[in-house]
Symmetry: C2
Subunit: 482 residues, 2 copies
């Protein structure tokens, strides 16, 4: 039995013995931590376990309390109230212009020493940067004469071999001749979208949407139509079907696995249905699968591409979320649009830099990618729980959170009165960054939402930042009432 | 007096003494080299000096001969016949679709051990790759925790500082806030063009044109109009002015310094006129200045941007031709279009990889960039002469060459009967690559032209390859006559 399980059991026993009675406030996380000389993380873990069993509950701004058993008329834990609902965007195609906001936000997130809850990147401390760099240095020493022609599209042959092998290990055989190496998934998404649609066309996206999708649409002067999206199952097929029946859609862009910001994993059967729905309408389906390696479940989630029998799925991925963000290596597998994507890659950036390609290829060949991923997945899963519990505890009533099934971001709905841009500014003044909801919609649909990053190693600083954030949310509400 | 000058003097003396009489064949380069135990390079140098003085002449396939003095009725050295003329493209805007040809050509150029006369890249042996790599490794060791936000557009601040300093050293003060770091000049050109023109627009280019320009036009589905271009002074301002008067031109794209493939340097006064002409028409002027560091003259040539007073010049450059091709670091300074270019950079590839940016910044800060360049310039200037002389000597009559004033490519006009694609194939079969003229025009205007790269250290293999090429050209002519 682990330490946190033992602590949970102890508290359960204390309740059973009547030491704590229903309605009683139990010791705060900090008190318990100091008192028992165990880490805050362990205490939080224990409290979350008790909460999930319905034995205690957290009350915003107050602490943890022993629950009245349901059989005795206790509430049901606020289950309905704290759950996100399916989004209800207005299905009108809109011009996209979010990049200025995103760029200025990312800049402030990167500057100085602020607590990076708003960062889109995973904590680099968990990445095997040193190992990859060593491969990079060795390659540089070994091969001092660089030809650039080796790296012409589709990309470095050894890296393509290693990417192919990785798909095979994940149970998804792919054709190496289909892979085109790109400057991150950003370029892959851009090339795929440019291959299938032209300026002025309308593209269907999830709501909320990962802003990389919105950027690709904005870059080409296209229009976005946001589709209702279920917080744990993904894009609403009924809503999408209606749109396809009534509007000329040039492409659909989604993240089937651990969508940013919602963190859901589309059920496998729904993935198949989505692929088939679009194929029936002859609409290309672009998927960003950059988080696929970061699953919390038992097995690797399938890509939409693995369900594709028509060559209509264009699959984009990268190493930026799972191995190293600094190298900017992504790739596309574009089905029947392969030739066009390869040509566009050549036109767009000529080649992807060599050394990062070779360094990653060497790492994949020789080192423990799977081992690294297992560790990261476990840490992220734990920290997802810790952050969810902390937000539930310290944020005002009316706050709802996503239930990430992978990846490293949490989507938080704040009470309607809160403007996330104002909160973002207040947080920044307090040395904390957050991702304001505005970044995730072309139609400003997520005014009172924020995205939080839980990839950073849990610490008193992060817990403190969340407590501060909770107070700032309350302050925003008070201002709004005044 | 240098060795080759001494040799030239000796031969001059021998002619004066009547040992060699006019019309006599003098010893072949090889014979003279063996006989005197001096290098082929030195002999070629000496012969070129004598040729430039009008004392000897080379006859295709035959060798060097003592000239009849002009006063005695000798020909004028074929000056008119061997000079390239101003191009005369048909001024009709055309769709652009050259990238497939260029990509397949570059691929074959890069594969295997062929003599890389067709390569677009400088000989990597002359590059300080080891030094830059050492900086790269050191950075990687020093900074194992990568944030990506440091590199968000406009790019790494230290690299931007070093680029600014370099412009200052070259006598061209620039505003560091205008610099946006890109994935090579390729991306810079793309972003600049996208910032000022839209699909369907017409863009004026030189003729022949560097294919990177054609790619940028093709990428956005724009049209190109090719403008008459003087082989040593650049784009014809009269022709351009007529086009501007009659056609809606969205932008003009040129290489003012050491244009690829012609190698000219626009006279400074003509640069000013070009900038003013376009400003009068309110047409943005995009310049690729990637060869500016590789001048053969006394001083650094000015950029078009340095003449700009309206913010209408968009300046693109990179380190790929002068420092390292493998790192893919370029930049744009886009005048009044700066904000748009910065935004498009963010949309296109998010960030430029960090390590290459930092490694180059460190090299520029600490090492002998100027020293490296001085060496490279001298070598390229010598090899330009060697290759020109060799082509003149071994290629059939009717061959004309450019007179590069910088950079590392020679543009060769072959007799009209020769199809450069056929020559390209024959050359490839003989282990030699060349750049077929087709790559340099959207209108297939350069059927009987080739581009040769003289950056590779002169060797018997390269001389041999040129001799073989000369024979293949002759063979192409024979086939065409048959």
């Amino acid at each position: 039995m682990k330490l946190y399980e033992r602590l949970a059991r102890e508290i359960e026993d204390l309740i059973a013995q009547g030491v704590f009675r229903h309605g009683d406030r139990i010791p705060s996380v900090r008190q318990a931590s100091q008192h028992r000389q165990i880490s805050i993380t362990t205490v939080l873990h224990a409290y979350m376990l008790l909460e999930s069993k319905g034995i205690i509950e957290s009350r915003p701004q107050s602490g943890y309390f022993v629950r009245l058993p349901a059989s005795m008329g206790g509430n049901t834990g606020g289950k309905i109230e704290t759950e996100l609902r399916t989004s209800e965007p207005i299905a009108v195609s809109a011009q996209v212009d979010v990049s200025r906001l995103v760029l200025s936000t990312l800049r402030s997130i990167g500057s100085g020493s602020a607590i990076p809850l708003g960062s889109p990147y995973p904590d680099p401390k968990l990445f095997p940067s040193d190992k990859i760099s060593r491969y990079g240095s060795a390659i540089v020493r070994r091969k001092s004469q660089w030809g650039v022609t080796d790296e012409l599209p589709p990309g470095n042959p050894e890296l393509i071999r290693q990417i192919t092998r990785r798909y095979l290990e994940n149970g998804e055989p792919v054709d190496p001749n289909e892979i085109v190496v790109t400057v991150g998934a950003t370029e892959a998404l851009n090339l795929c979208l440019q291959a299938v649609a032209k300026p002025g066309d309308t593209v269907a996206v999830e709501s909320p949407t990962y802003y990389a999708m919105l950027h690709a649409i904005e870059r080409m002067g296209m229009r976005a139509i946001e589709v209702a999206t279920h917080p744990s199952e993904g894009i609403d097929l009924g809503a999408l079907s209606s749109i396809l029946d009534t509007t000329r859609i040039a492409a659909c862009m989604v993240m089937p696995n651990f969508q940013n910001p919602l963190g859901f994993q589309m059920p496998e059967e729904k993935k198949r249905e989505l692929v088939e729905l679009l194929a029936r309408h002859h609409v290309p389906l672009i998927e960003s699968d950059v988080y696929h390696e970061l699953y919390f479940g038992e097995s690797h989630p399938r890509s939409l591409k693995s369900f594709d029998t028509h060559g209509l799925v264009l699959h984009c991925a990268s190493f930026s979320k799972s191995l190293t963000s600094a190298y900017r290596i992504g790739w596309a597998m574009a089905g029947r649009f392969h030739e066009q994507v390869e040509k566009l890659k050549f036109l767009n950036t000529l080649t992807t830099p060599s050394i990062p390609q070779l360094a990653i290829a060497e790492y994949l060949k020789n080192d423990g990618y799977e081992h690294h991923l297992r560790r990261v997945r476990k840490v992220y899963a734990q920290q997802a729980n810790l952050m969810t519990a902390t937000v539930k505890r310290f944020f005002p009533e009316g706050t709802r959170t996503s239930h990430p099934m992978g990846g490293y971001v949490l989507w938080v709905e704040l009470p309607p009165a809160v403007d996330s841009m104002r909160l973002y500014q207040l947080a920044l003044d307090n040395g904390i960054t957050i991702g304001p909801g505005y970044m995730f919609s072309a139609a400003n649909s997520y005014r009172n939402f924020i995205r939080l990053n839980y990839s950073y190693t849990w610490s008193p600083e992060i817990e403190g930042a969340l407590i501060t954030l909770g107070k700032l949310v309350a302050a925003c509400m008070a201002v709004s009432r005044a």
